[in-house]
């Protein structure tokens, strides 16, 4: 009789601590745990451990119930728990041909031969990794290479058909940096839609600072600067911007630590925030300048203009430097204490109309939206329970269709109606919000003679009233707060969380033409995203109607923005389009992106397992990718176009000594350009072949990462791990047949 199997699952990151762990090295292990659970549940019962110290106790209980119990540890081997009795099988990802086989840092378990010494078996995500383990540990340890079983979960995307050739509009909660919104060249870098391109946070009214010295992440906020140096960064153009992360509002003080070069010393530069400009005159050394602004509407771009970039004749410095910045600090000069209801009039005469985004120019009665995701900034953040009253109407279909309306992270729907009417909605905000927006608007032609506009929803006015108890109320004597002794500074906004608060602007992304997509973490050097962008912009320099969508899976946009700006200024002019998506796509939108993509592109130097590549291929999207590491398990000439890559030495990523011990792959830039051009030709001139590639991509994935196959392989491994329970060989008996390696 077969003994039931009981799996204890453990990873260092779990549901409890995942929020703080975004981007941490073990972050993806948590997702691996969730992805593999259904496969293991076909073989036995799964329970998730919070603490590996519980393993032995849980194991003993299971054995007492007549079960076989094993700990599946989703973690790198050097972090494996070492229970006394419970067998352990690690499941881990590895990109390289050699596993760590040295100890360093005084930790013998850095040598994986030691760390894997007591395990009952090991599961890697690729044959490449399995071979690396095999070479180091010999033939006796039961090993299995198996991918994440994601085939079935992609069914909803597959089932919805494909969007080939159609224009689709996606919603992104975050930022969409579109090269079409930039004027870029050797001497110029200007973003026409900074509220769309740069991730936006709310300002809590407190003091904050940005650091622009070498290696500081804030350097990404710089537009039009040379690469930062140890002291800070020099401008390269005659005007520069700094994309402040916060939506500043009210009375603001900016302290800048700056310097000037050459003719710019003593020169009257202009520093602007929103519509307000101040003169900035910098002398001969590093100086601190404080600028005060009264913002009549929120702003986030600091603009420095009037720089003279010409080099000084005869000087050794040949770059076009002029204005240098080390850092800046922002402070509120007056802490807002009034919690009055916000009443916003959105017609042409009202100053509030500047708050509108993606609307046509306001008219006497109000303003029509221009896009499918119009929104407005509030003059200041609101928090807690908020009653919102919207005076609106809908154009065409929009009059009778439910529209989405969001305030920060909270959402509702409403039907505007054909004539102006009031709608009242209450939002419960988990964190403050400063953006009120609409989704699902369907722009339609205005219909009037001579009016070429596309209209959706029209707004006349909006009022917002904070209803929370926590809001401080003004008492009769004009003082604020429950006790008259409270000073103004304590009347700061309530319920402000410790972490930054995203503005949650819902950006729209319209995709048409030929679409290439890649999903990656830009901070992982192995992903090679800059090579992809430069190769794409070279391959299609002369071609409009082709788009690269780069979905960045990294919390901090500023961490890679500097390189993006540098590429925009340094790449020769290109007609194609690159869109960098930094934010959240819900399942429906992500599925739309997959269906609309013509090719998925990967240019990595090494892959432990490329889940996005597998997801797209599972939806019938062929790939452009190098044939190395884990991708060798499923890429072939029928389902993908190969990119040349050959080996080069590299370090073990977690080895602090940073010594060269193993190999990754050097991807040929030239080959990426050729592959892109070849794929475009194939897509448009060989539709039959392309269709064949789509089918082959899906077909390969069906056979490779379907749950039945994965569960079957796991079962065979478990059968071969006779160390699991020496006293009961029944597992080996019951599932004998498929040998392990």
């Amino acid at each position: 009789m077969k003994r039931p199997l009981h799996f204890l699952f453990w990873s260092r990151i779990n549901a409890g601590n995942i929020r703080e762990s975004l981007g941490a090295p073990e972050y993806s292990y948590y997702f691996l745990l969730k992805e593999f659970r259904p496969a293991f549940e076909r073989l036995g019962q799964v329970s998730v451990l919070d603490d590996p110290a519980q393993a032995d106790a849980r194991h003993d209980e299971a054995v007492a119930r007549g079960e076989d119990c094993v700990l599946i540890a989703f973690t790198a081997p050097q972090n494996l728990p070492q229970p006394a009795r419970c067998p352990v099988i690690p499941l881990f990802a590895w990109e390289f041909e050699r596993i760590p086989d040295e100890a360093w840092g005084g930790n013998p378990r850095n040598d994986w031969r030691v760390a894997l010494g007591g395990v009952a078996g090991a599961i890697t995500l690729s044959e490449h990794a399995l071979e690396a383990v095999r070479r180091a540990l010999g033939p006796r340890l039961p090993l299995l290479a198996v991918p994440v079983p994601l085939w079935e979960r992609m069914e909803s995307v597959r089932g919805a058909g494909d969007e080939a050739g159609h224009t689709v509009t996606l919603g992104v909660d975050g930022a969409v940096l579109d090269t079409r919104d930039f004027e870029a060249g050797p001497e110029r870098l200007r973003c026409a839609r900074p509220l769309a391109a740069y991730a936006l946070e709310l300002w809590d009214g407190r003091a904050h600072a940005l650091d622009f010295r070498l290696h500081a992440p804030d350097t990404g906020a710089l537009l039009g600067f040379y690469r930062p140096e140890p002291w800070g960064a020099w401008s390269r153009n005659d005007e520069v911007w700094i994309a402040l992360p916060w939506l500043l509002h009210g009375e603001v003080e900016l302290e800048l630590v700056v310097r000037a070069y050459g003719r710019n010393q003593g020169r009257a530069l202009m520093a602007g925030l929103g519509d307000a400009y101040r003169v900035l005159r910098i002398g001969g050394g590093e100086e601190s300048h404080t600028l005060r602004f009264s913002l009549d509407h929120p702003a986030r771009m600091l603009h420095i203009a009037g720089i003279d970039p010409r080099p000084v004749p005869g000087a050794r410095e040949e770059r076009s430097i002029g204005f240098g910045i080390t850092g800046l600090a922002v402070r509120a000069t007056v802490v807002p204490i009034a919690r009055d209801t916000l009443r916003l009039e959105l017609h042409a005469e009202s100053p509030h109309s500047v708050l509108l985004q993606e609307f046509w120019a306001p008219e006497g009665w109000g303003a029509w939206s221009a896009s499918s995701a119009p929104w407005l900034m509030l003059p200041r953040p609101v928090a807690g329970r908020v009653r919102v009253q919207i005076e609106a109407l809908g154009h065409g279909r929009n009059a009778v269709t439910p529209l989405g309306v969001y305030l920060g992270g909270a959402r509702h729907t409403f039907v505007p109606g054909a004539g102006l009417q009031w709608h009242t909605l209450e939002f419960d905000l988990a964190e403050p919000a400063q953006v009120l927006g609409f989704t699902g608007v369907q722009p339609e032609p205005a219909g009037a003679a001579g009016d070429m506009r596309m209209l959706g929803v029209g707004l006349r006015s909006v009022t917002l009233e904070e209803l929370s108890e926590g809001v401080l109320a003004e008492s009769d004597d004009g003082s604020v707060g429950g006790s008259g002794d409270e000073c103004a500074e304590e009347a700061a906004l309530v319920a402000w969380p410790h972490t930054t608060v995203a503005a949650h602007v819902r950006q729209r992304l319209v995709l048409d033409g030929t679409v290439y997509t890649s999903v990656l973490n830009p901070l992982d050097d192995r992903k090679n995203w800059e090579l992809l962008v430069s190769a794409f912009c070279t391959a299609f320099a002369g071609r409009e109607g082709v788009t690269l969508v780069l979905k960045m899976t990294q919390r901090l946009q500023r961490s890679y923005l500097f390189e993006m700006h540098r590429l925009l200024q340094c790449l020769p002019r290109f007609a194609c389009r690159v869109v960098v998506v930094h934010g959240f796509l819900d399942e429906a939108d992500y599925g739309e992106l997959m269906r609309r993509t013509d090719f998925y592109v990967n240019v990595s130097k090494a892959e432990g397992l490329c889940i996005p590549l597998m997801e797209f291929m599972s939806c019938g999207r062929p790939a452009l990718a190098p044939r190395h590491t884990s991708m060798l398990d499923y890429l072939n000439d029928r389902n993908s176009i190969a990119i040349d890559a050959t080996t080069e030495p590299c370090i073990w990523p977690h080895d602090e000594r940073a010594v060269l011990r193993t190999l990754q792959y050097r991807v040929s830039w030239e080959s990426v350009v050729d592959a892109l051009r070849h794929s475009f030709t194939l897509r448009h001139e060989n539709p039959g072949t392309y269709r064949g590639m789509c089918e082959a991509a899906a077909g390969t994935m069906r056979g490779y990462c379907g749950i039945e196959r994965v569960a079957g392989e796991l079962g065979r491994l478990l059968a071969g791990t006779s160390r699991m329970h020496a006293a009961t060989p029944s597992i080996a008996d019951a599932t004998a047949g498929g040998g392990t390696r």
């Binding site: 010409r310 790449l571 370090i651």
Partner: protein, 438 residues
């Protein structure tokens, strides 16, 4: 014919500038002199702006052809002299700078070379780049520095029987760090202090690979030739890599290489770091002790070290791009496949990615090391054939005879074009009042 030659750097400034990219221009000018002297009189001039036109006027009065050869990049070449000027340029990128930068019109090389009317360079690759930039029939000729004649005689010395695997010695005054006696992972400052420059002898054995480069020159990509050597010969104690560092600041150069050496895994093969000024005899000894010359750069205008070594019959491991396409093939060495990547011109302070450079395959370098060792140890006749082929390829590339023939053709055509232009151009009204002679 009268040849005025000018290079913006002089012997007196060279000593301190050893290793700077511009040093090459001076060296190339010196190597041209014997050939030019067979074609006419040669005068080195220090200041073209003030001297060139005087000499030119004198020559014209005597009915003699006179030209100024400027060994310098185009933005340092005088434009607007009465004396015809031919720039002699080295260039390793696949496009010419064609925009003025920061108001300096000289950085528009396309314009400068078009105005000057003709150009001499050092490789077929560069000649093609110039023609593609300006026009297909633009007069440009490849005349590499004619170093073959000086080094070819060394081939016989190298082929003396019994040299394979035998000990070979090089006396030198300088700094030597040898993996057999020195731990590269030790503190860099301690290593520098413990290996002061001194008179000593480097004794080489086994299969010897030599690379000559400036470690601060990013174009040399020397890390690849070092790491590929280590991976190829992790378990082979009979191989040696000699890295001769060319840079005026010993400490700076050695630190740069030590930083990479400390990242390497332990290897059985021998690595020698050499920083020394070698006189001619010492340089020849090192060359004769070498079995293969190695280069892994991202582009070369001609690559003088490879030219010298191959002229003496030392086969090379080097990337198959730029100048090497003219003289390195599978018969004469181990060409390594290279791939294009975007880059910017060195003078472009805007760092605009308007050109390409060429990255060799690291894996190709590793395989070249493995195959070259096997050849050297296992097939002496094949090695001898390769050696002879290297020498012959370089004769065709950079012998004085070839340089002479190409320069004769070039200057004859240049002279004829100049005479035709003068016939077709009405003399300016001012000419009658211009002084002739001194």
């Amino acid at each position: 014919m009268m040849f005025l030659v000018h290079v913006p750097f002089t012997a007196s400034s060279i000593g301190g500038d050893l290793g700077r990219a511009d040093y090459s221009y001076y060296f190339v000018m010196r190597s041209y002199l014997p050939v030019l002297e067979t074609l006419g009189t040669v005068r080195e001039i220090a200041d073209p702006q003030s001297e060139a036109d005087q000499w030119h006027r004198r020559a014209v009065a005597d009915g003699e052809y006179c030209v100024l050869l400027c060994f310098a990049p185009p933005h340092r070449v005088p434009v607007g002299l009465a004396c015809p000027v031919v720039p002699v340029i080295a260039w390793e990128y696949d496009s010419l700078p064609d925009t003025p930068w920061a108001g300096r019109r000289g950085t528009d090389w396309l314009r400068v070379l078009a105005i000057l009317g003709s150009t001499i360079t050092h490789s077929g690759f560069t000649a093609r780049v110039v023609r593609e930039a300006i026009r297909p029939d633009y007069p440009v000729v490849s005349v590499p520095a004619p170093v073959w004649d000086r080094f070819a005689p060394l081939a016989e010395r190298r082929c003396a029987p019994g040299t394979s695997g035998a000990e070979r010695g090089v006396s030198l005054a300088g700094t030597l760090m040898d993996s057999r006696s020195c731990d590269f992972a030790a503190d860099a400052e301690a290593l520098l202090a413990g290996h002061p420059p001194q008179s000593q002898r480097l004794v080489l054995d086994g299969v010897v690979y030599t690379a000559v480069f400036c470690p601060l020159d990013g174009r040399k990509n020397w890390e690849d030739l070092l790491t590929a050597f280590c991976w190829a010969f992790r378990d082979e104690a009979d191989c040696t890599l000699v890295m001769k560092l060319v840079h005026h600041d010993r400490d700076e150069a050695v630190r740069e290489v030590l930083a990479e050496l400390r990242r390497l895994p332990p290897v059985a093969a021998r690595i020698v770091l050499l920083h020394a000024y070698l006189d001619d005899a010492q340089y020849e000894n090192l060359l004769c002790a070498t079995d293969f010359a190695v280069n892994s750069s991202l582009g070369e205008g001609q690559c003088l070290p490879l030219m010298e070594y191959m002229s003496a019959g030392v086969p090379a491991i080097a990337p198959a791009h730029t100048a090497m396409l003219d003289y390195l093939d599978a018969a004469s060495g181990f060409p390594v496949r290279a791939h294009q990547e975007l880059y910017h011109w060195p003078e472009d302070m805007g760092l605009i990615l308007r050109t390409r450079r060429f990255r060799p395959e690291w894996e190709g370098l590793r395989q070249a090391y493995e195959r070259s060792r096997a050849l050297r140890l296992g097939d002496p006749q094949a090695y001898a054939r390769m050696s002879a082929a290297a020498q012959e390829n370089l004769r065709r590339y950079c012998s004085q005879a070839v340089a002479h023939d190409r320069l004769v053709a070039f200057f004859s055509a240049h002279e004829a074009a100049g005479a035709a232009a003068r016939r077709d151009t009405p003399p300016p009204a001012m000419e009658a009042s211009t002084c002739c002679g001194d």
